[in-house]
Amino acid sequence: MSDATLNDAAESASNSLLVPDERTKRRHRAEARFKAYGIGAILIGLFFLFILAFSIIRSGLPAFTNAVVAIDFTLTQEQFDEAESQLFKTAAYESVFNEALSQTLTDKGLDVEVTPEAIERILGKTGGNLREFYQANPQELGQPVSFELPASSRVDGYFKGRLTRDNMVDSRFLMRGDLDIVDAMREAGVAKNVFNWNFITGADSGVDNPGGAGIGASVVGSFFMMLVVLFLSLPIGVAASIYLEEFAPKNYWTDMIEVNIANLAAVPSIVFGILGLAVFIQFMHLPQSAPLVGGLVLTLMTLPTIIIATRASLKSVPPSIRDAALAVGASKMQTVFHHVLPLAAPGILTGTIIGLAQALGETAPLLLIGMVGFVARGYPDGLIAGFTDPNSAMPAQIYTWAARADVGFYEKAWGGIIILLVFLLAMNILAIILRRRFERRW
């Protein structure tokens, strides 16, 4: 008995429900560890997302401003006539402008020596712009006009902190002494950062002029491409889904179509680029670099996405709707087009928008069919030219900037990404709103 009680006491110490034994503790520790791994994994994922968003915003926002020198400037009729009578007309304008600039700086109580060479390094050649302006607007002669002249890309970099006095090297583009003038102008409020409209509306610039590069032309290219994708992939995708979901008998051909759609959804995008190059350009001789061809390639790429989304939403329409329509004498085709399709429309639209968003961000196939950034030199002349004239698309333009040697373009690339993401965000939000607004639970 006493043995038994002793045993009991010893057992209860180790087997109590209230006091966990060593093994249970170990198991609970393992449990906590395991859970921590899971939380850690999610946190790492969110951390990456945060870093990505942070570096996009931090590096991209400067692209939306640029440094300009703003100056009130009056050119009299006599000065105009005198400048026009000289052999080097733009140089004459420049000297008039330089005088006005140093006058402005002295008026503001700043004492820096301004040499014409330094101004040319800071502002580029100003004479041409001035002459053009006054020739186009002779009525402004004698009136004070405020000019905002863009500073050179290195001065722009100095404003944004990309270039500092420590890391700069004297060159024919910018000397260390020029920065004193820039600082003086900044203090006087003559040089300042303004919103860079040219970045949003402009076209790609040459490889040595990051300051003048804009994304506008390639936004237009992307827009025309998306038009092609929308008008081809939506009807074809919906028709294909209707057939597969509502009419297709179970036979060899339908099986083949199903397998093909599943596989096409997973084919690397670059392979679609090869297809576009070989079939549309090499074989059918469609124009190279044209948004039309880009749109065709992206159509083939987005079709599987749209078909999968459309089939899902056709499937979610309950069979009772079809039965009711058939029972009152509608044909199968009428049932589908008059009853099932309208009910599935919100889901189809959502899927289409998501497919379009995917297509909008696609780069690799566009590079193969020649829609690289540097062809986006201007806006197309008209509606048809928009489809057939060489142009680029937003992601391809970003790639071209990222691949250039001048660091000034990196900022543009990040800025371009902000614009691209704004478009994608807008499309996704639209899709979510559509889903919330029209989604129907049966």
């Binding site: 560890r33 994994a41 996009i56 179509i257 599943a262 997973a266 392979v271 090869i274 190059l277 992601p395």
Partner: protein, 493 residues
């Protein structure tokens, strides 16, 4: 653009046909005093469809067939003597096409008259200089045979376009007239129209098959062409990747092995990042997370999947690469000198891993959720903790599905382009050091084909052979993964 107007005209014919067909049906019903078989709109649609469909089919076939016909005619006009050493018929044909475009441009600018463009002789007048004046891209001196061919090319093409326009409009009119004639009150318009619609639906569904055929055909033809110029054995087993830049006839080494190695190495690094993180995230979301955490974290992770790859490429090139150099480069935090430049296997692999996290996690999440609740309950009933249940019951049950998900992720990693183009480097290299720059199949496809319009040199054609290899590898992985996933799904349904 005449094609645009042609399409508009065909649509116009169809619209008029619709109205006329509908009116004729109604009129026939009233005059015979019987009821229409179908709704009046169907009679109109019948006419419209019979105008549009044959006309568009004709246009499509014509657009595909005309270049083939014209090319074969032109090709026959070029004597072998015109094909220079190291050149090929394809290159000369491209030149002819450029000359023809130049002529068009020059006529448009008014630099030369239509008559000169049609009959001018390159050996009498200096056509090359005139075309250059007009702003056309002419690479070499245009010789008389090429000029003849270019003129013939223009004539054939403009004649072809005229014929096509005429034929398409005739076919549309004929189709509409025929359908209009058969329109009677007793005509079963609805059945005919629905039959036609069904055929169109089938055609739309078949585009998926056509796309695959197009991919395979374009890859196979050009790959065969490539292997005619470059031995297949050297391509598959060559350990050197060194295309000569000048193109034609140089001694290029085009072995796929360094590229394949780079591709696989980067994919392995990417999977080493994405699989643990994605899998643990999926387990946590499926088994532990409260509905609120799940509703927040799952969409946030999936945002990573919605970001275009160009963004990841830039992130690799400008953020992650320099960061890794700061850590592993000379003078970095670790004091080691492993990494020379920002572009490296590690850079691309890491960023690609981030991209794949949501891919792995949402696929695994679905699969873990598909494991029946009864299995969990049984395990809890035996006293297992949650983690023990996950490790010993759920994961073994979900293993085939997760393996399929990982295979799909691997196929994504192998086919990914923009991240490696910007982050991995340009030189093909067989090395074990993950901090070295290597290149991949996809990156080389881009660099060999970008901005090149004539595909006659092995340096350009190799891209198709690379694409073929890529297509076969990813297709095999996908088919295997889909097979595994489908097989597994059936197990619990």
């Amino acid at each position: 653009m005449s094609l645009f107007w042609l399409i508009l005209v065909v649509f116009g014919i169809a619209a008029v046909g619709y109205v006329l067909g509908r009116a004729r049906a109604l009129q026939s019903a009233t005059s015979q005093d019987i009821k229409l078989h179908s709704l009046p709109g169907y009679y109109g649609l019948n006419v419209a469809l019979k105008a549009i469909v044959p006309a568009f089919l004709l246009i499509f076939v014509w657009l595909v067939g005309q270049p083939i016909y014209v090319n074969s005619v032109i090709s026959g006009m070029i004597p072998d003597s015109e094909i220079a050493e190291g050149s090929s018929r394809g290159l000369v044909l491209a030149e002819v096409r450029r000359a023809a475009e130049g002529l068009d441009l020059a006529v448009e600018n008014g630099t030369i008259t239509e008559d000169v463009a049609r009959n001018g002789r390159a050996d009498f007048t200096d056509i090359t200089a005139r075309l250059k004046d007009a702003g056309a891209i002419v690479t070499s001196q245009i010789t008389q045979p090429i000029m003849r061919a270019a003129q013939e090319f223009r004539i054939l093409n403009s004649a072809g376009n005229m014929l096509m326009t005429g034929a398409a409009i005739l076919v549309a009119l004929f189709g509409a007239a025929w359908a209009w004639r058969e329109t009677r009150a007793r005509f079963r318009a609805r059945n005919v129209v629905e039959q036609g619609l069904l055929v169109m639906l089938i055609a739309a569904a078949s585009i998926a098959v056509l796309t695959t055929v197009g991919i395979v055909a374009s890859l196979v033809f050009n790959t065969v062409e490539f292997f005619r110029l470059y031995p297949a054995f050297d391509f598959f087993f060559g350990t050197e990747w060194a295309p000569s830049f000048s193109g034609r006839g140089g001694s290029s080494e085009l072995g796929i092995l360094p590229l394949l190695w780079g591709t696989l190495y980067i994919s392995v690094v990417a999977l080493a990042v994405a699989v643990p993180i994605g899998l643990f995230a999926a387990i946590y979301l499926a088994e532990y997370a409260s509905p609120r955490v799940r509703a927040f974290a799952k969409p946030m992770l999936e945002v990573l999947a919605g970001i275009p790859t160009i963004v990841y490429g830039l992130f690799a090139l400008l953020t992650v690469g320099p960061l890794l150099v700061d850590v592993f480069g000379s003078g970095g935090f670790l004091g080691v000198d492993w990494q020379g430049g920002g572009r490296a296997v590690m850079t691309a692999g890491l960023v690609m891993g981030i991209m794949l996290i949501p891919f792995v996690s949402s696929l695994s999440d679905d699969i873990i959720n598909a494991v029946p609740q009864a299995m969990r309950d049984g395990s809890y009933g035996l006293g297992a903790t949650k983690s023990e249940t996950v490790k010993q019951v759920i994961l073994p049950a979900a293993l085939p599905g997760i393996a399929g998900a990982i295979l799909l992720a691997a196929s994504r990693a192998i086919g990914e382009t923009m991240i490696v183009v910007l982050g991995a480097g340009a030189a093909g290299r067989l090395s074990l050091n993950p901090f070295e720059a290597m290149t991949t199949i996809t990156a080389k496809i881009v660099s060999q084909l970008t901005g090149d319009s004539d595909f006659a040199s092995p340096e350009a054609l190799v891209a198709f052979a690379l694409g073929m290899s890529l297509f076969v590898i990813t297709l095999a992985l996908n088919v295997l993964a889909l097979y595994i996933v489908r097989k597994y799904r059936e197990q619990y349904e």
